[in-house]
Amino acid sequence: MRPRRILIGTLAAVLGAFAIAVFAQPPQARPQGGSSAGTVAVPTGLREAGRALFAEGCSSCHGFEGEGVPGQAPSLRGAGEAAADFYLRTGRMPLDQVGEEPLRATPRYSDSQIRALDAYVASLGPGPAIPVVEPGRGSVSDGMQMFNESCAGCHGTGGKGGVAIGAYAPPLGEATPTEVGEAIRVGPYVMPSFSEAQLDQRDLDSIARYVQLTQNPDDAGGFGIGHIGPVPEGLVAWFAAIAALLLVARLIGQRNEGDEPGGEEGGKA
């Protein structure tokens, strides 16, 4: 009877361990479809539509001509189409609160509105154009090396984010290839911008390809438990393995009051 209890207990413990391990697995980020890339031929109508949208939603901070308001928001002259597209498609603009780090959110504008705003901001002064990023042309190995050299210090080697000095370096799980290229060229918030000389077109493709890999990494070893290494591993060790083994110990070991009358006395003082 006891052995059966032990067996059942062990089984339950092992199953329990897996239940925990499975639930410890956060939902995986899905790579999103690429956003519209390509240089926009700027029809005047589009720019005018952008101007109207800008006056309504952005001018309170950036000024009516995008000239910037000291203490509120920077001038957008020379920010370029890439900056506008990046900040709008990642929902960072319009900002809620001056002084806060802009964070990724659901975009407030539709695709056509974003194109209009992009055109308007581009018309304010020369700035980086939206880069054309094609991960398929890049090399994932080069991308990984460049990412570890230039980006991992803030975003972490697997692109899972971290604390940058005075800022939040976001995880890149949702970034599209175009957004990766834009971020590299624009350098949002405390992130440095990288010029063509530092990272060329092929490098953008390679880095974007590597970022795609981090969004869907090769989990040869089983459940990925977040792909951030030791912290979730420690949680699983304690809350799955140790918890299961304590349960086993509890089932096969005795409690104090369970004194078996038949217990032998080893009085060998």
Binding site: M144, N148, A152, G234, A237, E257, G267
Partner: protein, 468 residues
């Protein structure tokens, strides 16, 4: 059958009587006595899986260009060590399974030792005559932490390289001797020479395992020679042991535990990914990744390094004590120093120099339990601070705020733990109840004449008798 084998041996080698005695060795029963066994069996699995890994791992820091089967790393320059760990993971049959089991087991090994330490501490099992063995246990814990660190540092991936960089900074921070110590271990400036790598390897696969294994044998012998401790209870006295004899009862049960440990660890190793080194990439000293973390058993040191405000002791332009010293050396020094010193401190405080073979329940000694609770709460608070950056990214708790919160908590939590534990223990001792078990209700018997008399539970009266 075993008995027959004993008789066989006895008649030929005369060893039977000792063996027979060993088979009749009595193990007192309590489930918390099994934590140490979990650690023991983890060690067995660590050695077994480790041997398999040494057959394929190449401990060399000379570089090659990777052309293995993991495409994203093809063409990258890396150390042979890292490359062979990749081959081990992707090409060697069962290599990844064994590597993962080995790593999971290391985490569980350390966790089981810590649980075992807590059990020993809170039941007063470290008291004379077992204080020596307690020191052996603490020494094994220290060695096991270093052994684990050496183990994941060997792989030469980005995380392990950063771990070594931190270890190097901590070593260099030791006043006066730090520089020499760093040079001695690393053979020069970080990241060190080839010799460092072979030192790390031989330490991990030979020196430390042999030390731990020998101490473990000593530990077990020292458990058996003065007999096991046991909890107070019916018929249990300082001079006896009540429980299950080694054969057949205890050995089979223990074997069951071994299989359970192996089952859990192999299941984890097969199903849950641990340290996916191919996702981190190779290490170069100029590279660094955000959010690098050590294995959990070093998390308390990372927490301490994080929490310590920036200050160095500078005397006339010479930095006597660089910052990493506080969190990386002083803090673990204090914790382990206290644990080593505690049996002597307690003896002095209580003027109790007598040997003790009966365990206390945690409540029986509120002062000890409260001090232990405060100590472990302190370490745990600082441990959690080590993951503050993850809490920031995953849960969005502001990072600087967390640091100050943890700094406050590292004073408040231990204090609260001390006061609360002491109160609870004292209350329980008066009350006689057990948290989560029984209602504290009393059993009354009605006598013929109509009066009531309280029946005391059996175990307790015996315990009270012992205490007198």
């Amino acid at each position: 059958m075993i008995r027959r084998a004993v008789r066989f041996l006895d008649q030929r080698a005369g060893a039977g009587s000792a063996l027979g005695k060993a088979l009749r060795y009595v193990f007192p029963d309590h489930w918390t006595f099994l934590f140490g066994e979990i650690a023991l069996y983890s060690f067995v699995i660590l050695v077994a899986t480790g041997i398999y890994l040494t057959l394929f791992f190449e401990p060399s820091s000379s570089t090659i260009v990777y052309h293995g089967s993991y495409a994203p790393l093809q063409g990258q320059e890396m150390s042979k060590a890292y490359a062979s760990a990749l081959t081990l993971s992707f090409e060697v049959p069962a290599g990844l399974l064994i590597r993962q089991v080995h790593h999971w087991t290391a985490l569980v090994f350390l966790a089981a030792i810590v649980l075992h330490l807590m059990r020993i501490f809170f039941t007063g099992a470290y008291r004379k005559p077992r204080d020596l063995n307690y020191y052996v246990g603490l020494t094994m814990l220290t060695l096991a932490v270093i052994e684990g660190y050496a183990g994941y540092s060997l792989l030469d991936d980005l995380l392990s390289g950063m771990g070594l960089a931190i270890g190097n900074a901590v070593a260099l921070s030791i006043p006066v001797v730090g520089g020499q110590l760093g040079t001695l271990i690393w053979g020069g400036r970080f990241p060190g020479t080839d010799a460092f790598f072979s030192r790390l390897y031989i330490a991990h696969v030979f020196i430390f395992p042999v030390l731990i294994g020998s101490l473990m044998a000593l530990h077990l012998a020292m458990v058996a020679i003065p007999r096991h401790t046991q909890f107070r209870g019916r018929r249990r006295r300082e001079s006896n042991v009540i429980g299950t004899p080694l054969w057949p009862g205890y050995a089979l049960r223990s074997l069951g535990l071994f299989f359970s440990v192996a089952a859990v660890l192999f299941a984890l190793g097969g199903l849950v990914q641990i340290n996916p080194i191919w996702q981190w990439g190779p290490y170069e000293p100029y590279l660094g990744t955000n959010g690098a973390q050590p294995d959990w058993y070093l998390g308390w040191l990372i927490g301490a390094l994080r929490l310590m405000p920036h200050f160095d002791v500078v005397i006339g332009g010479y930095t006597l004590v660089p910052n990493p010293f506080w969190g990386g050396v002083l803090f673990p020094g204090l914790v382990f120093g206290f644990l080593y010193a505690w049996p002597a401190i307690e003896r002095r405080l209580d003027r109790d120099y007598a040997p003790h073979n009966l365990l206390d329940r945690p409540r029986d000694n509120p002062r000890r339990t409260a001090i232990g609770a405060a100590l472990f709460a302190w370490v745990a608070t600082i441990f959690f601070a080590g993951a503050a950056d993850r809490a920031f990214v995953q849960l969005g708790v502001p990072y600087e705020g967390q640091l100050w919160g943890y700094r406050a908590a590292s004073v408040l939590v231990p204090t609260a733990a001390y006061l609360l534990t002491r109160r609870v223990c004292e209350h329980l001792r008066e009350d006689g109840g057990h948290p989560g078990r029984g209602s504290g209700a009393r059993v009354l018997a009605r006598s013929r004449s109509g009066g009531f008399e309280e029946l005391r539970p059996q175990g307790q009266s015996a315990a009270d008798g012992e205490q007198g």
